[in-house]
């Protein structure tokens, strides 16, 4: 399992991203609105669930998102890695909850807090705490690039050092697409890849 580093703390990320849009997020004009097109499953567009952590715009492939839920009651997990803030039942399934705030170097924003539950390849659902969830969008594939192909060197470095698999840009706005295996690895104690 790939293991993500927590060294992806980038001080200027929040500000830089905010430069791209009025509030650092996306608007309906910038991404194709849900339901706008006629045929389902257009391979030239990717369905993404977008959300924010401390103003940092994130996204996850919709096919990897089990649900977006209110934050559940949390039970502390002694000995779990730092990003893990506890365990909660979501959809009847015990789900490890983790926060990306520290890794991203951002502070929590007050907002409509949610948990974005990622389904990972090793059957461990992981809930990522989000300050706000902005719904589902369909992003054209020409705006989705892997971290090492991002033209903007700053964004490329940010993407390369985080648990991301892609950067999505639409009309100048940018969001970092989480890699489910990399996020899952954050919940695994060092030395345990099982």
């Amino acid at each position: 399992m790939p293991r993500a580093s927590l060294s992806w703390h980038m001080e200027e990320v929040g500000e830089r991203v905010a430069d791209g849009g009025s509030d650092g997020g996306w608007t309906g004009d910038q991404l194709a609105p849900v339901g706008a097109d006629e045929d389902a499953g257009d391979p030239d567009r990717v369905a993404l669930v977008r959300f924010q952590v401390g103003g940092f715009p994130l996204a996850a492939e919709a096919g990897h998102v089990a649900r977006v839920s209110p934050v559940p009651e949390r039970t502390r997990l002694p000995g779990a890695p730092d990003p893990v803030v506890g365990l909660g039942y979501l959809g009847g399934v015990p789900t490890v909850l983790l926060t990306l705030h520290e890794g991203l170097g951002v502070d929590p924003d007050p907002g409509d807090r949610r948990v974005v539950v990622l389904r990972t390849g090793d059957d461990r659902p992981v809930g990522v705490l989000a300050d706000d969830a902005d719904g589902t969008v369909a992003a054209p594939v020409d705006g989705v690039v892997p971290p090492d192909e991002v033209a903007d060197p700053f964004a490329a470095e940010t993407a390369a050092n985080g648990p991301f698999r892609a950067v999505c840009s639409v009309d100048g706005d940018r969001a970092y697409v989480l890699s489910p295996p990399a996020v899952s690895a954050l919940a695994v104690p060092d030395g345990d890849g099982s």
């Binding site: 649900r67 039970t75 698999r165």
Partner: protein, 768 residues
């Protein structure tokens, strides 16, 4: 009416009622065997894997029917096994006639199982067995004729006489293809009425329904749905396609066409139940996404809580983008699926959601100061209903591991009788209930293992006496939960396995080359290869090298593993380790400051109030406990134990954390334990049996190698702030949630809806 039903009742009618689980399991074998036979016929020749698959199913049917006392069915299954043995040995090639004959026989076995379930008399296997034997005889005759012709013709490769004694590819099958007995042909024609597998199974299920109606059962549908085929590409969630086709054509006619469940129907679908036009209709059972799960449908992909996106690929890998560029190389989660359909986890998930959400609602109402009696009554009713739902789901979806024991006892009894071996079976199983399919799938391999142990492992009494062993052999079965796994071992104190014999058998079977150098361990692993056996000849019990093959396949199917240890002259131990996704076990809940934790009750020897213990000051305490480690100390006995301060070991914060504004809910509240601070005296080996039990005796006298006398248990004293309560509850191994965290074992939901971490005492740091 099926042939099985028309079979004559056995004069002695020895079959009695069998369990639903037995029927479900063997239904699966009937289906598997039928499918394999059909595939062999359709494939034109029997590839090794297909034969092995069919062989395993036939062998399992034979063994299970023998154990259940269904002798007639067992005899028929044995005859099918013989037929397949001939195929595997290259003496027989399955043509349509042989396949139909075998299918008819399998149908008879299925019918016998149905009859036994209803407590009806068994079937007379004579006719069926005779026909299968006739096919075998013809094959042998043809082989003999071919050999003779070969001898006569020297190196001539073909039979130039045109008599069909041998053909150009060396096959002998055609030698008897035109030589079938008319009665056999008639019987085969009757059997071929069910020339479609689905129709055949449906016909069998009709029988099953008849019986289930008598019993109020009806579990056969479960069998059908247990392992649903994968939906076709492009329709990953199994929903109806939106192009005008529809699953499950409304027709009373048996499906015609190919046997893979797909057929072509004429007509046009007008949306009102009319026929289809040129549509390929998939008739296989469909996977239905769990409620609330992500799903794809005609509106695109829909994520609960986030809305839907149409006209877009659900993942990068599904889009026109090159997945490799994004590092998507291996298996990731399938983009659209519900939880495993039909699983107990799926059934219990919404129940747990209800429980947890009810608890949250109570907390909010408390916060708001709502005291309205109607609200309280409603919540009480909701709790009662939720608990009822949970019990129903658990009862239907879980099965105690110890349920396997009676089947093992019957298997050992049968094998001992057949081999005239003096043997006793001893068992020690952890009191735990697992997902029913997991337990039921373990029955087959364990039956094979104990049969093999008796048939091949245990020596005759005279030989044992000469070797200085007790004249009676012992087979020991243990089952225990280890973290997220169930570990079952079958040990015998017999002759052990000679790796040289295995090497030789493997060379003879062509599994390894003559010059290959295998270690003893590698040689022993060959036991799990199909057809490898050290038995000189097959017996009624075992010896075809199939049983161990079954063990390996079941382990693989359950995502587990199997290993074998053996010492010549001392015995053999085979261990099966399979992961468990969910279990019910006894849990003792304790308070540690403001947090609550659970400890498996099987590990708890006693609860000692802190005031009743003596702190020795070196990280150890002296607690009253009897010499066997059990609760009591009735005669003033004490034990020194290392102490684990749960407060320190679990780094419990002095105040509940509230980072990120997420309250800790139930753990905010200070638990209210009975009594004060206490030591929970535990055995860190979680399945060490109770003192004085048979299992405890086994600990002192384990039959197999590698599991000798473990001595008195080393106990730990877990200091907590009090014991809250103890009861059986549903737990989920934590490995499936957050990886291996030392000291953490599983997660449970307390009856009030609180998620609680279960501790693994062996992983906790001791004081000092």
């Amino acid at each position: 009416m099926s042939e099985g039903e028309t079979g004559d009742a056995e004069p002695d009618a020895e079959e009695g009622a069998v369990s639903d689980a037995f029927v479900r399991e063997n239904r699966t074998h009937v289906r598997s065997l039928s499918e394999a036979l059909l595939a062999m016929e359709n494939g034109g020749e029997a590839d090794g894997e297909r034969v092995d698959e069919a062989f395993r199913a036939a062998h399992s049917l034979k063994a299970n029917c023998q154990v259940a006392g269904l002798d007639g069915a067992a005899t028929v299954a044995h005859a099918v096994e013989d037929l397949l043995e001939a195929v595997r040995a290259g003496r027989l090639r399955l043509e349509e006639a042989e396949v139909d004959e075998a299918l008819g026989a399998v149908e008879v076995v299925g019918a016998a199982i149905d009859r036994a379930r209803g407590g009806r008399p068994g079937i007379d296997p004579g006719d069926r067995v005779a026909r299968l034997r006739a096919a075998l005889d013809r094959a042998d005759d043809a082989a003999t004729a071919a050999d003779t012709a070969g001898d006569t013709a020297g190196d001539a490769a073909t039979d130039t006489t045109g008599n069909g004694a041998a053909d150009t590819d060396g096959s002998t099958a055609e030698a008897f293809d035109d030589d079938l007995d008319p009665e056999v042909r008639e019987a085969l024609a009757a059997a071929s009425d069910y020339d479609d597998l689905d129709a055949l199974v449906a016909a069998m299920d009709d029988d099953a329904e008849e019986f289930s109606g008598l019993e109020g059962g009806g579990a056969f549908d479960t069998v059908v749905e247990e392992d649903p085929p994968s939906p076709p590409a492009g329709d990953p969630d199994g929903d109806s396609p939106d192009d005008g086709t529809r699953a499950g054509a409304a027709t009373d006619e048996p499906p015609a066409g190919p046997r893979n469940g797909t057929t072509e129907l004429d007509g046009t679908f007008d949306g009102t139940g009319g026929p289809f036009e040129g549509a390929a209709v998939d008739l296989v059972p469909r996977t239905v996404a769990a409620p609330g799960a992500v799903r794809e449908d005609e509106d695109g992909i829909r994520v609960p809580g986030a809305g839907a996106a149409v006209d877009a690929a659900p993942t990068i890998a599904d889009s026109s983008l090159d997945a490799d560029r994004f590092g998507v190389t291996g298996r990731e989660v399938p983009p659209i699926r519900g939880e495993s359909p039909g699983s107990v986890a799926e059934a219990l998930a919404p129940v747990r959601s209800l429980t947890v959400e009810r608890r949250r609602l109570v907390a909010v109402l408390d916060e708001l100061g709502v005291e309205d009696a109607r609200v309280r009554d409603g919540l009480a009713s909701l709790r009662e209903a939720t608990e009822g739902l949970g019990e129903s789901a658990a009862v239907g979806g879980l099965r105690p591991v110890e349920d396997i024991v009676p089947e093992l006892e019957r298997a050992v009894e049968f094998a001992a009788r057949q081999t005239e071996t003096a043997v006793r079976l001893r068992t020690a199983t952890t009191p735990v209930a697992l997902a029913r399919p997991t337990v039921e799938r373990l029955v087959d391999p364990l039956v094979h293992l104990v049969r093999n142990a008796v048939d091949h492992g245990i020596e005759p009494p005279g030989e044992r006496g000469a070797a200085g062993k007790p004249r009676q052999g012992t087979v020991t079965v243990r089952a225990r939960r280890e973290g997220g796994d169930l570990v079952v071992s079958v040990a015998d104190d017999g002759r052990g396995i000679d790796p040289d014999e295995l090497r030789q058998a493997a060379v003879e079977r062509g599994v390894v080359a003559d010059g290959d150098r295998l270690s003893d361990a590698e040689a022993r692993d060959l036991l799990f290869e199909a057809g490898i056996t050290t038995a000189d000849e097959a017996s009624e019990v075992s010896g075809r090298g199939v049983g161990m093959d079954v063990v390996a396949h079941v382990a693989e199917a359950l995502d587990g593993e199997v290993s074998v240890e053996s010492t010549l002259g001392e015995g053999t131990t085979v261990r099966l380790r399979v992961p468990v996704s969910i279990a019910v076990l006894g849990v003792t809940f304790v308070a540690v400051r403001h947090e609550t934790y659970g400890v498996p009750s099987a590990a708890v020897r006693s609860v000692v109030p802190v005031d009743d213990a003596t702190d020795l000051g070196d990280g150890r305490v002296r607690v009253p406990v009897d010499e066997d480690g059990g609760a009591g100390g009735a005669f003033g006995a004490t034990r020194e134990c290392p102490v684990v301060d749960l407060d320190d070991a679990l780094s419990v914060p002095s105040v509940p954390p509230s980072d990120y504004g997420v309250g800790t809910g139930a753990t905010d509240a200070v638990p209210d334990p009975d009594g004060g601070p206490a030591y929970l005296v535990v055995d860190p080996a979680p399945t060490r049996p109770e003192a004085g039990s048979v299992a405890a005796e086994l600990d002192d006298d384990d039959g197999g190698p590698g599991a000798g006398d473990e001595g008195p248990p080393e106990l730990l004293a877990l200091r907590c702030d009090g014991v809250l309560d103890a009861y059986e509850t549903l737990v989920t191994p934590i490995r499936g949630t957050v990886g291996e965290v030392p000291g953490l074992d599983a997660v449970a939901v307390r009856d009030a809806g609180q998620a609680v971490v279960l501790l693994d005492p062996s992983g906790l740091p001791e004081r000092g």
